[in-house]
């Protein structure tokens, strides 16, 4: 490298010193500055000047204080006025967005552990289900799903919005019913009422009883 090139390189590196002090250089440029500093005493001296300016600029800015609450009050008054004039159309509940946001809150290490735990949980769950199906002659019906949905009497049910999973499980248990399909369009589920096909009037009685539990059932109809 000739003298001219050396001078240019030094000038280029010196121009980067303020960003090096602030820690905002790319890894590559930071390495370049570090290398130059390691062997150039004059550059080291100039870097000390930069660090002095850096410290005093922070000190100066920190001494400027903060705005009064008036700034926030004025902002939200303006937002209220805008909303009153033309309410903003809010997007519908964005489950994917919320999930992304939730996941983005974790550190990579946490995510890795979560993924491993989730994979293990799936394996354990698969093993348990397999064991239940193999050992229990009643199969999935024992955990709420009918094994032969074509037999028996059925109804289509839509559960009330406020009904919890526990409410629904208790409801099905109390009526000796089980869920066989769903959710279908409109939030409907096909529920098996009895194992054998009952006369229409008896099915009607069961439906009426179920309808009375309005906190759990919002809609119910017989399925032929």
């Amino acid at each position: 490298m000739n003298v001219l090139n050396k001078e240019q390189e030094r000038f280029d590196v010196e121009a980067l010193l303020p960003w090096h002090a602030a820690g905002t250089l790319s890894r590559r440029d930071a390495d370049r500055v570090e290398q130059a500093l390691a062997s150039d005493r004059e550059l080291q001296r100039r870097y000390a000047l930069v660090r002095e300016e850096f410290a005093e600029t922070i000190h100066l800015n920190e001494s400027l204080g903060a705005p009064s609450p008036r700034a926030m009050e004025k902002l939200f008054a303006a937002i209220d006025a805008e909303e009153a004039r033309a309410p903003r159309r809010r997007a519908s509940f964005d489950l994917t967005g919320r999930l992304s946001e939730f996941i983005s809150g974790f550190a990579p290490r946490t995510l890795a552990w979560s993924a491993a735990a989730a994979a293990l949980a799936i394996l354990v769950q698969a093993a348990v289900i397999t064991t239940v199906v193999v050992k229990d002659p009643n199969g999935p019906a024992a955990i709420g799903l009918a094994n032969k949905p074509s037999d028996g009497s059925f109804a289509m049910v839509r559960f009330a919005a406020q009904a919890t999973a526990a409410d629904i499980t208790n409801f099905l248990g109390a009526h000796k019913a089980s869920m066989v399909e769903g959710p279908k369009p409109g939030g409907l589920y096909k529920v098996k009422l009895t194992d054998s096909k009952l006369p229409a009037d008896e099915v009607g009685k069961i439906i009426k009883q179920m309808q009375e539990e309005s906190k759990i059932v919002s809609f119910i109809a017989v399925v032929q």
């Binding site: 960003w19 905002t24 300016e53």
Partner: protein, 186 residues
């Protein structure tokens, strides 16, 4: 527990979430205020301007594409508002403030020198820089903006950012020299 990223807050603000707006404001309003007050040199004006900056965020959040950091976007809006306010200000008011701002730093610093307070002199000289030079020094040192980000905020090429920073520091060295501090640079 990690804080909600700024970009996520902007997404929520785009959907009209006032709480997200409060969080973003609480997180950044002091720094934006300091950036603006250093440009307009008037606290009341700066307070009004930061309300306008965040109102623009409320209005334009849906258009934020995330190609730059939210703080870079905030400072870009703030800079535009501050310069517009300076242009609207009557000339005589501007002259008075400019004169006050660029007063010969050799008065106070002499007193300060007697106290051997070099830091106070440097700060005094930092306030004596032109708006253009104050701005770039604040962006680099206080707001920790990279060359690329400063270029985006100020609207100049990256090489010009480096050159402007060099001249801002050179001017600071001249002011310090006039105040009795010889740094041997440039």
């Amino acid at each position: 527990m990690q804080a909600t990223p700024d970009e996520v807050l902007i997404g929520r603000i785009a959907n009209g979430d006032r709480l997200a707006m409060q969080v973003l404001f609480a997180r950044h309003h002091v720094r934006v205020f300091r950036f603006v007050v250093r440009l307009v040199r008037n606290e009341t004006t700066a307070e009004d301007l930061i309300s306008e900056v965040f109102l623009d965020v409320w209005r334009q959040a849906g258009r934020f594409e995330g190609r730059s950091a939210v703080t870079t976007w905030l400072l870009s809006i703030a800079r535009f508002k501050a310069l517009s306010a300076l242009r609207r200000r009557p000339d005589e008011e501007l002259d008075e403030e400019t004169a006050g701002a660029i007063e010969d730093p050799s008065d106070d610093p002499e007193v300060a020198l007697e106290k051997k307070d070099k830091s106070a002199i440097i700060r005094k000289c930092l306030t004596g820089l032109s708006a253009e030079h104050r701005e770039i020094i604040d962006l680099v040192y206080y707001h920790e903006k990279s060359v690329e980000e400063v270029a985006e905020i100020v609207g100049i090429p990256e090489n010009t950012v480096k050159t402007r920073m060099f001249y801002a520091r050179k001017k600071l060295a001249e002011l310090l020299k006039a105040a009795g501090i010889e740094r041997g640079w440039p």
